[in-house]
């Protein structure tokens, strides 16, 4: 009798279990939603929304440091850190939804938001402590659109060549010198490209440039377009010769010293260098964080000079980082003060010494603390020296569209199969034509 009662209780309990679990789940979920929905109005004079990317946990720390430190120094200001893994997509939606933050972190490609950013010229002019000459000139120019300052720079990551010193030692090669040439680079790359077991498959490539370096290559002898962005200027004898040499590195008669873009995409460019499968690798300062954990010895050197008809040309990509104030801000003065503080010498120094950025402020960049920190790379100076010939990568508001026009042409030139691959000359002519068409459309729209 007792067993029967126990069984019946158990049966009732087990039939009620799903309902109980459901109820518990519902209650706990609602508590979590309520907890995250509750808003405490900060007891401060002003709240600044600050958009910041979550590219790495270290990057998050950098943003948190800026917000926390500023609030410590300015007890009347609350900095509301808006974190996102995709700042540009987020900002697009926020601008469209008129919920823009007050201050934003921006990087390469910021020009697409140029019209949503507050021009800062008046503030810059009336602030005696802010001297444009304290920043690298190329970087200061990179934060302007049509002559107007739209952001304050903090970092200028220039593209350099990372090289594996152990592989150079193994091949008995001298390390690249700061004034090396394109021919030196090709010679070293040939010596470092190896098929160890003779099976016809290359086990170690000498060089990895990456497609992103295509754009700076156009700039070896000038600009992509005129300063007003009305006339395309990328099809020049120098850029033609460079693209031809670039193509030859992958498909040259004397064998490949560089993996094709397809092979790079399959294996990952950074991981190939990280695993010792490429001896030289072109990248900006963003790669440092990753490469500092590898155990082979490596260093960096500026991109090589290119000789053409007796003259030397040189360029590299410039990945700038900056702080900008949005048009829609309710507190422009406070937003400016905060952006100004973030891009000031003290914060740039903190970020540079903690490995977050390549400093755009000259006093920090040339300081012993930064150049001789004892951490790799030994030749940190290459980042700084490259500022002299660094050019912004995506310097036009319609660059996403221009890029979409360029990509299939570049692919046809560098990836297309043998019969369908187009020459460097044809590729540049097509890209020049495509760029001119986009610029004409953009200018016609703006002139209206």
């Amino acid at each position: 009798m007792a067993t029967g009662t126990a069984k019946s209780v158990l049966r009732r309990l087990s039939s009620a279990l799903p309902t109980v679990l459901l109820a518990c789940g519902l209650v706990l979920s609602l508590i979590q939603v309520a907890r995250t929905t509750a808003r405490e109005a900060p007891d401060r004079r002003v709240t600044l929304d600050f958009l910041w990317p979550t590219y790495t946990p270290q990057k998050v720390r950098y943003g948190e440091h800026l917000a926390e430190r500023y609030m410590e120094l300015h007890p009347d200001v609350h900095v509301n850190l808006i974190l996102t893994p995709n700042p540009y997509r987020k900002l697009q939606v926020m601008v469209a939804g008129r919920t823009t933050p007050d201050v934003v972190w921006l990087g390469v490609g910021w020009h697409q938001f140029a019209e949503a950013l507050l021009p800062l010229d008046t503030w810059v002019e009336r602030d005696p402590a802010l001297r444009p000459g304290d920043y690298f000139p190329g970087l200061w120019e990179a934060v302007k659109w049509r002559g107007s300052v739209r952001a304050l720079p903090s970092s200028g990551q220039t593209g350099v060549i990372y090289y594996n010193k152990d592989l150079f030692d193994e091949a008995g090669l001298e390390y690249p010198a700061p004034d090396w040439t394109w021919d030196d680079m090709v010679r070293m790359a040939r010596a470092l490209t190896r098929d160890f077991d003779g099976d016809g498959i290359i086990d170690q490539y000498g060089l990895q440039l990456g497609q992103i370096y295509i754009v700076p290559f156009f700039l070896y002898d000038g600009q992509v377009a005129d300063p007003d962005w009305r006339e395309a200027r990328l099809d020049t004898p120098v850029s033609r010769a460079l693209l031809q040499r670039y193509q030859a590195l992958m498909y040259g008669d004397d064998g490949s010293v560089m993996p094709t873009p397809t092979a790079s995409a399959e294996l990952g460019m950074l991981p190939m260098f990280e695993a010792g499968r490429t001896a030289m690798h072109a990248a900006s300062g963003y790669a440092i964080e990753t490469f500092r954990t590898v155990q082979f010895d490596w260093d960096i050197v500026s991109l090589p000079r290119f000789e053409f008809e007796g003259q030397y040309y040189r360029a590299t990509g410039l990945w700038e980082e900056e702080f900008a104030v949005l048009w829609d801000t309710d507190a422009p003065e406070d937003a400016w003060e905060f952006a100004r503080w973030c891009a000031g010498e003290e914060q740039i120094r903190w970020a540079a010494l903690n490995g977050h950025i390549v400093p755009g402020h000259k006093a920090v960049a040339f300081s012993d603390a930064y150049l001789r920190s004892g951490k790799r790379p030994e030749n940190m100076r290459a980042f700084i020296d490259s500022q002299a010939f660094g050019v912004p990568i995506y310097p036009h508001p319609w660059w996403p569209r221009i890029s979409a026009e360029f990509d299939p042409i570049i692919n046809q030139c560098l990836i297309g199969s043998e019969g369908k691959r187009i020459t460097a000359q044809a590729a540049l002519a097509q890209m020049h034509h495509a760029l001119q068409a986009v610029l004409d459309e953009y200018n016609a729209e703006k002139d209206r």
Partner: protein, 360 residues
Amino acid sequence: MSKPLSPILAHAVLLAATAVMLLPLAWMVSTSLKQSGLGMARGIEWLPWKDVCYEDGGTIDVVTLGARVHLLPDGKTIEVGLKSLASRSKVTAVHVPEGTFEAEVIAYRVRPVTHDERTAEARWAPWASVQRRIAPRWRNYTEALTKMRFWACLANTLAVTFLGTLGTILSSSLVGYGFARFRFPGRGFLFLVLLSTMMLPPIVTMIPVYLLFRELHWIDTLLPLFVPSWFGINAFAVFLFRQYYMTLPFDLDDAARIDGCTALGIYTRILLPLARPVVATVGIFCFTHYWLDFMGPLIYLNTIEKFTLMLGLYMFKGAYTTQWRYLMAATLVVSLPCMLLFLFGQRFFVRGVVLSGLKV
């Protein structure tokens, strides 16, 4: 009449296909346990290994750079890179520009592993003192979960997934019931309108919906992520429920009505309990959708305390670099509930699709 494949052959083919499908998962597990610098680019290396060097009675972690070898044909001693050696055994083939020769390895050139972002000096160590060990780095998991603030992300994801899934099941089953059991003017047209919303890419409605939630002051809360599910917006789920209800005889409704059951009673007491396979199917679909949703949290959430797991994972995938071992470790942990759910729920899942999908 064609002969069926023999069971052994059929199983062999299926097992081979399964193995191929499991390879990415195996690679994910393997990468999540690797030391730094052992990503995918060395070719496929399935085991997370490291080199150690025995010295002074203990061992230190090292990176092996090259070797000093004694060429057996002519007795010459040369130094070569590690990739020139065919194997790590004492006597091995060595690939040099002049050809491939048999050689005896005398010593390895090794560099002690450091943890302070500096490089130690390379040195020579006798062949016997350097060994390769399988060394899974379990710390990748704890480090990854700490860095992405896993527990906070998990609590938010669980809340959104639970409420979103529950809301979809309740609202879709009710709307589907209406379309399947009631005759009213414009029923077919309204159902068509509902189905046509499936053709609308979400990106098209992203900004208007964002504006709507902004007006409600729901930005930076979890509400926009699950509240819409309580209003029958999942057209596919409605379609599944309607199709299933239509396979059930109307006699059930009539009998219930004779016994005094209301329309809502028929739904709650008869049709919904009978639709358990569809509930399971929709449940699995919704769970996966809300668990893996990236765009919604990206648009609506601003503060890290409210992030879901998908946003947390993106901390390891930067604009230019990816921290593979952390990303793989965290991805594995985050994917586990979805894998387990499908494993245990696949019977319902398949049955639900068959029942509602084939009897259109």
